[in-house]
Symmetry: C2
Subunit: 312 residues, 2 copies
């Protein structure tokens, strides 16, 4: 199948064509750049919602509920489930996805799992591109889910227009570290499993942290939404909170700031790669390998190696 | 204080001078390159031991035990505790470190906490440099501890000559995902809290996974060591297992392969930065910013922006 035919099929909603396009982009196969270039102008329309938080927070069930909620109003919804804790195997955990079985049968819902690749920062970049392609292919809503609260998750979440941080009652001291870091990227705070004991305390803790953070004037103040994903309670409120943030984001210019930052990172990354390839072509792989070997043996330091290679 | 004086003081064991040098390197302050260049030739001698694994595995206590064990034989030991789950605050969790209080008072032990920075891959790079400086300053053993099992932790562990993966009995299904990913970088497998029920099953599970992994001929087969960090049981065996791996690593050439890979990553990263700076100087920040803005507005795609900037 030609690339044009595959793109047309994917735009028309063909899940297999979409999956193949995403695999090419994810693995950075030779056709990846052509796909990204062809889809780039059409992207930027979807509501991209990130869902992150510590394991055991019921995120998958919540995402499943969000899919159902958005599907009542939107033609096409996509889910990208990113798992940075699988660094090498390439196969993201599908277990949780089984729960989305019903939605797998819904042709208006496309679900993609992604695991980490070799290169650092590779997952955030690959997932950002996958989200962009899904957006360009006509998905009105793209939900991006990550498990965990590390730097990698924060990077993945940069693609989202609105980030929901999902916590649960009773995480105890463990939550402290998490909140301190990820709180800064959260636009909506969710206390899931709100029917469990401790939900009030969890919400109060979050409220206190928000108050302590003392936001700048005009900044967005993340609302706290209580949900019970298993029953669906609070999901409508969550959808509303996301919509409110998206509206604020468009009006305040914060969305544009985020898009500019994402564009800057992508352009600079591509530039660095192109420049390094040019240099390799100029000085030759052999001289580069020789410099690296001498650095490894500590005969020269890395800065000296760079000076040597750029000087010649 | 001049850089030379500070380096001399740090080499002589002055903890404040050492801490200041590391802060400069960590924050990439103007003097960072000078420090890295001055220390690079002296590094490469320390035994660098990585300790990683899921939270709640008793890693801090185990590291504390290892410090005590190495201190009976070595003059100077350093600990670098890296916390990728604190992306922005810059202050790594010191709570666990409090347990090392006794060792804080031991002048032969230097302890450093690090949290994640803005840039992706930044923490692995910064911690690698910090370890290199500590090595060059004369620490015979450098222990690098991370909490978690994501890609970031895997990257941080690349600086270690020997990586210990610490698990505990009864992690249940959660451990499956973890093991699948991080197992591939582990040189020594540790079942800590081996006095707890389920230690046999945990060791058996790991053994089975190792058997299933079917290593190539001549490859290192990670031993499984049982420890009870709280009592100190098994710590001597762990020290022995690390020494055995280090000896194999030197003999087999695997250590050299790792050092070459680390050198390649460092040289290429510096090259990319230098090349981008040169380009910025050539085309000007304004033209670069303009291209980024048009990419953000989706007027052009990132590849077109790169072609435009490199063409001019």
């Amino acid at each position: 199948m030609t690339l044009e035919a595959r793109l047309a099929a994917a735009r028309a909603g063909d899940a297999r064509a979409t999956a193949r396009l995403l695999t090419i982009v994810e693995n950075d196969e030779p056709e990846a750049a052509a796909i990204l270039r062809a889809t780039y102008p059409q992207a930027g329309r979807a509501l991209v919602v990130g869902v992150t938080g510590p394991p055991g927070g019921g995120k998958s069930t919540l995402v499943s509920r969000l899919v159902t909620a958005y599907r009542t109003r939107q033609a096409r919804v996509a889910v990208v489930a990113v798992d940075p804790s699988s660094p090498f195997t390439g196969g993201a955990i599908l277990g949780d996805r089984i729960r989305m079985r019903d939605q797998f049968l819904d042709e208006g819902v496309f679900i993609r799992s992604m695991a980490s690749r070799g290169a650092s920062g590779g997952l955030a970049r690959a997932s950002g591109r996958v989200v962009g392609v899904l957006d360009a292919l006509g998905h009105e809503v793209v939900l991006v889910e990550t498990v965990g609260v590390g730097q990698e998750e924060v990077e993945v979440m940069r693609v989202a227009g609105t980030v929901c941080l999902v916590t649960v009652p009773g995480l105890g001291d463990d939550i402290q570290a998490i909140k301190a870091g990820v709180l800064e990227i959260a636009d909506v705070l969710v206390v899931n499993k709100a029917d469990k004991p401790g939900a009030d305390e969890a919400a109060r803790d979050l409220q206190m942290m928000l108050t302590l953070a003392r936001p700048r004037a005009g900044a967005w103040r993340p609302p706290i939404v209580r949900t019970t994903a298993t029953s669906g309670e609070g999901v409508a409120e969550l959808v509303e909170a996301v919509a409110a943030h998206a509206a604020w984001s468009a009006e305040s210019g914060d969305g544009l700031r985020r898009r500019r930052e994402a564009a800057r990172v992508e352009v600079e990354t591509l530039l660095r790669e192109a420049l390094l390839r040019r240099l390799e072509g100029r000085v030759g792989r052999e001289r580069l390998g020789d410099a690296v070997a001498r650095v490894a043996e500590r005969q020269i330091d890395p800065f000296a190696a760079v000076e040597e290679l750029l000087g010649g």
